[in-house]
């Protein structure tokens, strides 16, 4: 996977089938009804009973609407995934105006994968990967892929920039530019 900056936003290329599958899971994870995911994405804000009931009644529905709207936006951008050239690797454009929504959605997806696979902090430590089950290891790799995309959007990496999406050639799809 590589990333670059174009006038319209951030472009991610060289996306393998597994990367694309991981990305397509993001909106589903954001809208997951699994109790473990809901407990993490929609936690209680305070300990007292009355406050907690108010929170569930007022804040949670608003947050659910926000997450659903983010999921829709991510789905729309993913629908724009395109192939350049003959290979199966694909390009994704995240428009500048969608960056904040993507950052939050990627974070939600990473937290949801963590919760759904019963991962613990110890799994993320140096020797943790080897102690995880195969299913957990796969989840950890997906969490890492999504973290790399988050880091790009956060500006943690220096990216090549310039030009527009229309300037990209078939060779850009699978090779590092």
């Amino acid at each position: 996977m590589w990333a670059g900056r174009v006038d319209e936003g951030y472009v991610f290329g060289g996306l393998s089938a597994t990367c694309v599958e991981t990305l397509k899971g993001v909106p589903m994870l954001l809208e997951s009804t699994d109790e473990r995911v809901r407990a993490r994405l929609l936690p209680d804000a305070c300990d007292e009973d009355a406050g907690s009931a108010d929170w569930q009644r007022h804040a949670v529905p608003e947050l659910e609407r926000l997450f659903a709207s983010r999921a829709q936006l991510v789905r729309r951008d993913l629908a724009g995934l395109r192939k350049l050239g003959k290979s199966d690797v694909q390009l994704l454009l995240i428009p500048n105006s969608h960056v904040n929504a993507w950052l939050a959605a990627l974070n939600a997806a990473r937290l949801a994968l963590f919760a759904l696979n019963d991962l613990e902090a110890r799994h993320l430590e140096a020797e943790g990967f080897a102690q995880a089950t195969l299913k957990q290891q796969e989840a950890m790799l997906r969490i890492q892929v999504l973290a790399e995309m988050q880091s790009v959007l956060l500006g943690d990496y220096e990216l090549e920039s310039g030009g527009s999406m229309a300037d990209l050639t078939p060779d850009d799809a699978d090779d590092d530019p």
Binding site: R40, L41, L42, P43, D44, A45, C46, D47, G51, W55, A59, E62, L63, L66, N100, L103, A104, N107, A108, R110, L111, F114, E120, A121, L124, I143, A147, Q150, S151, L154, D156
Partner: protein
């Protein structure tokens, strides 16, 4: 004149305890092993308008101590901030300031 004085007195007796019954609330952010540190800093800047250095210091406090008080004030506003932090998926909660 007499009525006015009585009303004023009654108002004062009613409002004084109300003020003392509204303690400030803390907005707490808790550490989680998944969320990226630079993301936490960005969210603090975006939600509270904190400068980069202050946001970074609070993020480091969350990371090293497991939690940080990121804002203190009236309950209604504290609830609004917690909702905003949860909108970005930061593990956050409210607690009343002791004493």
């Amino acid at each position: 004149m007499f009525v006015f004085a009585a009303t004023k007195e009654a108002t004062e007796t009613k409002t004084a305890p109300k003020t003392s019954l509204a303690p400030p609330w803390n907005v707490i952010v808790h550490d989680d092993p998944v969320t990226l540190m630079t993301y936490v800093t960005k969210v603090f800047r975006q939600v509270f308008g904190y400068a980069q250095e202050h946001a970074h210091r609070l993020m480091m406090e969350v990371h090293t101590n497991g939690r940080s008080i990121v804002w203190t004030g009236a309950r209604e506003q504290a609830e609004m901030y917690v909702q905003k932090l949860q909108a970005f998926h930061l593990l956050s909660s409210l607690e009343v300031v002791d004493g």
